[in-house]
Subunit: 293 residues, 2 copies
């Protein structure tokens, strides 16, 4: 089968053998929000020389802005419940292919409402190896997800705007004006982590990026690292009570930064490379649903 | 004399009589960051038919990006100390005018470092009426300032990025995509204020703007009011211990929103229209320094 992780800004496809092993992969920048032609054309072009008929997709492609909106499945959700939410596209959507789109997840625990689309398939790829104890998975990114797992179910989760706020502040705010490009500065990152502890709150803490720049108490090339430390520190400090151990899933540079932050904040952390977990998750969901390539 | 409040995005000039009363005023959008010609040309043009020779200016015009960088005066600072920091431009800067620029303020209390440029002249305009007791003044805006006053001195202050973050999130973030223009919605604003109370932190709370939009639990035209409530609530909740009463100084719509937030959060608040307080402050500083028009 072919697994596709089609998010807002990128498209990734994985060709899997019958045992679910990735035998080829491909990516392009034609995300749902940046797609310059029809979704069918992009998909046909990207999969041109892969002849497996079954294609299972996850991510923003299943949102209101995507190809077909698939309803959210509510938490707590097992793999079987998520698999039950897979929706087929009409056979005519792309000749010769049988296309399914995974549902997103919704959590309304404790009066809050939160959603994810795409990350749930990454979690699905990891779930069978996690055992029955309560576990917390953190998937850092534009919208960082903190997911609570128990007995093979996604019980609850929440989203932090950490990555998007970092980009916004660096590119569009007064704070970004004094920044210079540079290598990551671990000391500045740690200082940001420490400064995120105060009762003065994130809105006040952020302004220190400017004063460090104005008075050169940090090099201009280190201000982005300091900002990153403030934001990641703020995210991790506002985790639910009782979270003392995290499984960090994602790209290497990002999970490394989060692992450093966890160590400094006294949170236990292990790391898992997240590149292929979405593909593994889609494979599992397809098997549970009884889909065969 | 003529008082000029020249910030990043706007220019405002006030013509004052000998007693410090505003007899005329003028504004334009040629802020320091948006100035399309030289500062001297803009000033000459704006003051063309006002013949008072003495011009005293405050705001970003005194920053590194401005006409001449004037050093910060450190807190605690009295009016006399701020007046002592006024810097003259060379006589040739603008023929027929004697131009002075007010210093900014810097506070390094408790290891933090914070700065302001412009707001200190607004405070200077109010100081003589405040008495000797400790008071807290909040000047909402792009960068909201919370200023501690005691015995006629500015003792300390801090900056919250509230207004800038609101603009950034509305204009450039995923949260802004679901927003529609609309009248301020007080119920949505209150809900944002209430939701800013949680221990889940601002980075997670912000994502509720998206889910309220996705599931239409708030009208699209009310999402901006909800976001505003979240941010102002977050700012006010992270005030220093012991702040139970605020003097709100600024534009009417903004101080009204902050007054509503204070009432809901149990903070006493009085409001002062801030339009002319910068002019009053520059007049007082000029008098203390012994400058005469």
């Amino acid at each position: 089968m072919i697994a596709v992780d089609w998010g807002g800004s990128s498209f990734r496809a994985f060709r899997l053998d019958a045992a679910g092993q990735v035998i080829a992969q491909r990516r392009c920048d034609q995300g749902v929000l940046s797609c310059r032609s029809g979704f069918d054309q992009v998909l046909a072009q990207q999969l041109a020389d892969w002849d497996e008929p079954l294609v299972v997709m996850a991510g923003m492609i299943g949102s209101r802005q995507g190809w077909r909106e698939t309803p959210y499945v509510d938490c707590p959700a097992s793999l079987a419940q998520i698999a039950g939410g897979l929706q087929p596209l009409p056979a005519c959507a792309l000749p010769g292919r049988e296309i399914w789109i995974a549902p997103g997840l919704r959590s309304t625990v404790a009066g809050r409402c939160d959603v994810m689309r795409g990350e749930e398939t990454q979690v699905a790829g990891l779930l069978p190896d996690l055992g029955d104890a309560v576990q917390w998975i953190c998937l850092p990114g534009t919208h960082s997800k903190l997911v609570q797992i128990e007995q093979g179910c996604i019980v609850d989760f929440s989203t932090a705007m950490t990555g998007e706020l970092f980009q916004l502040l660096r590119e569009h705010s007064l704070l970004g004006r004094l920044m210079q490009p540079g290598q990551p500065d671990e000391a500045a990152f740690d200082r940001g982590l420490d400064d995120s502890a105060g009762s003065d709150g994130l809105l006040r803490q952020l302004f220190a990026v400017r004063t460090h720049g104005l008075f050169a108490t940090l090099p201009a090339a280190s201000l982005a690292s300091y900002l990153s430390g403030l934001l990641i520190g703020s995210e991790l400090r506002s985790r639910p009570d009782g979270v003392t151990q995290l499984l960090l899933v994602g790209a290497d540079t990002l999970t490394a930064a989060y692992a450093r932050a966890c160590a400094r904040l006294g949170i236990g952390a292990s790391t898992c490379h997240g590149e292929e977990s979405a593909a593994q998750g889609l494979y599992r969901l397809a098997r549970i649903r009884g889909l065969r390539g």
